[in-house]
Amino acid sequence: MFDTLSDRLERIAGRLRSRGRLNDADLDEALREIRTALLEADVELGVVRSFTESVRARCSDEVLSKSLTPGQQVVKAVHEELVEVLGGEPLKITYASKPPTVVLLAGLQGSGKTTTSAKLALWWKQQGRHPLLVAADLQRPAAVEQLKVLGEQAGVTVFSQAGDPVSVAAAGVEEARRIGRDLCVIDTAGRLAIDAELMDEVRRISQVTSPHYTFLVVDAMTGQDAVATATAFHETLALDGVIVTKLDGDARGGAALSVKGVVGRPIVFASTGEKLGDFDLFHPDRMADRILGMGDVLTLIEQAERTMDRDVVERSAGRMMEGRFTLEDFLEQLQQVKKLGSLGGIMKLLPGMSKDLRQAADQIDDREIGRVEAMIRSMTAEERLNPTVIDGSRRTRIARGSGTTTQDVNQLLKQFREMQKMMKGLGAGGALPGMPAMGGGRLGGLLGGRRSLPDLSSLGGAGSDGDLAALMGEIGGSSGGLEALGVGVGAGRPTAGGAKTSRSGGKKKKKGGRVTPPKRR
């Protein structure tokens, strides 16, 4: 429904003249597209303006890269600027010398404060701390009950009492002190920023509890209003940070950029699901990918989860990399993939696919899959396991059995062999012929020398798609590799394809060779 920024820039890429530098006219065009993409992502208008100006400044002095198209270069600049704005100085949480450290959560109704309070408490508990939850939302029916249930699930005590929110909050902090807790997380009622009375109430809560950290909880699907709300809360409470919730949806999350841009406080945590464990530190690069609409891996994985047999798929991926992937396996996988629906349609969902690959994906005739399938089915088990035994007469038999020609069978076998080699090469972490970006890039680094499926937890948990997107970007960008296999990808642009493959220079391995996953709970 909404075009990704990459789509938009690809469209005008032809018109971005290739000169020594990105000139103003080029930039203006590109920036218009950026503006639209960001607005569609719900970034607030004022923030979009200042942001595009920063991008302009970043771009206008850059010399046009030889390996990136102007469009790609602009995307890169936007991405970098996004990461910088979203990131910046991370919040370093320091704990009070005289416990408890008091944490206050505030925000609009329905933003996720109560669930987030419990998640925060659990997060700290898992770090060995001893939090107390304070149920100071006396407005919403059964809010206190909700927190109690969550507290129980998290194994964290919940303090509640009758009265008014201000006195309850104060009493809660006092209780935390009394029973020797080092953290006190206060949940408050949702309130509108323009509700003077309730804003005054939360100000008073803040006064009596003297929080060390005040976090604004923001729903990732918030639209243009994010700025007005955040500004008002910031003026009232002097926020220390922001927590973005419901990132497990597909809202692009521009509100995060808006709030950060306007309030200037770091986004500290990201909430990525309804379960208490769906909570992690915020990753600016993943958010940047999301805002730019790079990749819909989550949908893909969900779909896959629903339809594919996970064990089969996992095993196959592992075997693929060890070079033990056979035609039998391939047939099995084909069945799995078919369940996902149109192969071309699925390919489009993979992030970072270059326009060429996506066009090619469009050209995949799903009936072709039937023919490939038929050919493999016409083989005996032995032939599938060991295709080298397939001589001329067998080929003829297979061709006849599947209603294809011997040339088709030849081609299938040849290409499959090539792919096998390539996959094995991936597994060994080496550079691959014609696909330098794949071997030398992130994937190669990840796989360096492993024999089994690597720990890809650095690619993120349920709520992230950034690293994976970048990964696919590398894979997708190497259409030159496909060229080597004789695939005419993107009619009439072989040189462009060739130029792309030199991007990473072919030999560059990721620094360090391995990617250490972030600490998993």
């Binding site: 429904m1 909404f2 639209t36 992502a41 607030e44 208008l45 609009l108 109704q109 329905g110 996720g112 059964a142 809010a143 009950e145 909700q146 109690k148 129980e152 699930q153 194994g155 920023a193 323009i194 729903d219 699907m221 918030t222 243009q224 209003d225 007005a228 709300t229 497990d248 949806g249 597909d250 809202a251 309804e274 379960k275 989550l298 949908t299 893909l300 994985i301 969900e302 989860e305 996970r310 798929v313 996992e314 991926a317 592992g318 693929m320 992937f325 993939v337 192969l343 993979l350 994906a361 050209q363 995949i364 499926l453 890809l456 690619l459 948990g461 349920a462 894979i475 004789g486 695939v487």
Partner: protein, 417 residues
């Protein structure tokens, strides 16, 4: 040639998906197990179950008697419904500013369009709809049909009202809906089947549908993502229906969220409606089914069914919702409204939500909540324009009376001042 592409695609796909999948699902499974352990330890069976079993046979929820309120705790009769205009007065400031500028300039120039664009975008109307609206106005200025900022503003207002109108609704200014705006086909982008799609012009109207047929139990299903205000809205709707003399039964179909049943029960007490609840973690379909049975047996006119908030991206939860609707539809039940509750603060994702939920369970109308805040809720323009889905109700606060019918003119006045 394509064979290669297929091979490449499949292998890449499997590799990528399989690997990411392994990580993701392992993480999820781990959390699920942790959760299951904790809740088991706490003596509850509260972990969320995916729709993995076959639908259970007609099972009565564990608590047999519904929790009837002998008398509502707050016996206060409903006060008059708040008018949209009053509540929105204080938020007009920002956008009215742009339009004031437009008027004051005295002529229509580039700055006019900039200001108008800004006003619309800030109201979450969205890029596509904004562009369509402004292009139309621009062409009418060029053709001299409109001259001067006042006429442009009037035309804009008229266009917006027309876009939000249901066929047959009368308004003060009878401006024809510009052809290209009205003809927008909705989901013809080849994105798959839409089962319950409403085309512009074939909408169900703004009234809440209630079938008076004997032997039929009307069910109004409330759906939406997390945190939008479904439960609160049900409380308000129940209040109004009770005031209109209907007998209402609430179905606590949110069996996932901690204390959700409790929350709805409190609303039931407040507004004078009985409730059917089940155990947390139970099957929501069973509860809805039981509510329909009970309503039929006891002669309740209407079942208002709450459901758990769910993101449309979660396939298994959407499947669960589909099942809830199917079950609710079993005679004597008849689902006469599927109301998508949408938070006014939502940006463009609102359109995606509307599309996805409509595709899944056939949404009949939107309830736009929290419009008493600073958010304008402009995304409903796109929702009506592209999906033909009308806003039926507007929520304006957390109290039982804070619900009004949607009026396009009032809404547009508040939208663009």
């Amino acid at each position: 040639m394509t064979a290669v592409l297929i091979i490449v695609s499949v292998l890449l796909l499997v590799l990528v998906v399989g690997a990411a999948y392994a990580t993701v699902t392992r993480a999820r499974r781990r959390t699920f197990e942790e959760e299951a352990e904790e809740t088991a330890a706490a003596g509850r069976g509260g972990a969320r179950t995916a729709v993995k079993e076959a639908p259970p046979p007609v099972a009565a929820p564990e608590e047999a008697p519904p929790e009837a309120a002998p008398a509502p705790e707050e016996a206060a009769p409903p006060t008059g419904p708040p008018r949209l205009a009053e509540r929105l007065g204080k938020t007009r400031g920002l956008i009215a500013g742009y339009l004031g500028k437009v008027r004051s300039r005295g002529s229509v120039d580039a700055a006019t369009w900039d200001d108008l664009e800004e006003a619309l975008l800030r109201a979450d109307v969205g890029v596509a709809t904004t562009q369509a609206l402004l292009e139309d106005l621009r062409s009418r200025v060029v053709s001299r049909e409109l001259s001067g900022p006042d006429e442009v503003l009037l035309a804009l207002r008229g266009d917006l009202v027309a876009l939000l109108s249901e066929p047959g609704e009368r308004h003060h200014e009878h401006l024809a809906v510009p052809a290209d705006l009205a003809e927008e086909a909705a989901l013809d982008e080849g994105e798959g089947e839409v089962h319950h799609h409403l085309h512009h012009g074939e909408t169900t109207g703004r009234e809440l549908r209630f079938d008076d047929e004997p032997g039929v139990t009307n069910v109004w299903l409330f759906v939406g993502v997390n945190g939008v205000g479904k439960t609160t809205t049900i409380g308000k709707v129940a209040r109004q229906q009770v005031a209109d003399g209907r007998s209402v039964l609430l179905a606590a179909g949110d069996t996932f969220r901690a204390a959700a049943g409790e929350q709805l029960a409190r609303w039931g007490d407040r507004v004078g409606a009985e409730i059917v609840r089940g155990a947390e973690g139970g099957d929501p379909s069973a509860i809805v089914f039981d509510a329909v049975q009970r309503a039929s047996a006891r002669g309740n006119d209407l079942v208002l069914a709450d459901t758990a908030g769910r993101l449309h991206t979660k396939v298994n939860l959407i499947e669960e919702l589909k099942k809830i609707r199917r079950v609710a539809e079993r005679p004597p039940g008849r689902v006469t409204e599927v109301l998508l509750v949408l938070d006014a603060v939502t940006g463009q994702n609102g359109l995606v939500q509307a599309q996805q939920f409509t595709e899944a369970v056939g949404v009949t109308g939107v309830v736009l909540t929290k419009l008493d805040g600073t958010a304008k809720g402009g995304v409903v323009v796109a929702i009506q324009r592209e999906l033909g889905l009308p806003v039926k109700l507007v929520g304006l606060g957390e109290g039982p009376d804070d619900l009004v019918p949607f009026d396009p003119e009032e809404f547009v006045d508040a939208l663009i001042g």
